[in-house]
Symmetry: C2
Subunit: 124 residues, 2 copies
């Protein structure tokens, strides 16, 4: 817990690849929704401000890595249901820990940014 730190974690390319596919905006939002309940494709589109293309890509990635199950539940007209997997659910805890962290610190961060921008004259 302190600065001399024994708990160093070695960050391998495998870590980065895995996390990179899961920590983008749309993946987090989709996983949150599917943790609530199974959803249909256009249902997700209404819940999340994402384009068709990006939602498709996100769902494919999540499906490929085993976080999400895709099931055709009807054929005429076609209906598809996306459902979180047990593996997908294991992500919820660490992700929500991060969201809680941002909840707790967002104001301090805003203040730091305002101070920085004020000091430098920058605005970006």
């Amino acid at each position: 817990m302190d600065d001399t730190s024994s708990g160093r974690i070695d960050i391998t390319p495998a870590h980065r690849e895995v996390l990179g596919q899961v920590l983008d905006t749309w993946s987090v939002l989709v996983l949150e929704e599917l943790c609530e309940a199974p959803r249909r494709f256009n249902q997700l589109r209404r819940l999340i401000p994402v384009t068709q293309k990006s939602l498709t890509a996100t769902l494919r990635r999540l499906e490929r890595s085993g976080f999400v199950d895709r099931t055709v539940i009807s054929d005429r007209p076609v209906a598809v249901e996306y459902r979180i997997t047990p593996l997908g659910k294991t992500l919820r805890e660490p992700i929500e820990a991060l969201l809680r962290w941002s909840d707790e610190h967002v104001e301090e961060i805003e203040r730091a940014r305002a101070r920085f921008d004020d000091a430098t004259g920058d605005h970006g």
Copy 2:
């Protein structure tokens, strides 16, 4: 904690902005390094496979948000030290939770991907 979920977190643009600036590859690696000890600019470059440009941008962002302190410790030749702040340290726990998660599940994810690629014929 279960699927019927009472602990729903509302993900605002503010959350996304904060997390987006902190969860990229270089930020995570830099924060990990600085949690170990204060570092110099070129010292970080030797420790992390990042270009000058990206390291500069990463450090600026982390400094702006208050995660990192930048101090000129000498002038001739110029020497600059980067140091983690108390706010920066609060990120370590949730980030390492995520890294532990990827450690624990990376193999299962690899297997899921292999299965998916095998089933679809895709490779990417």
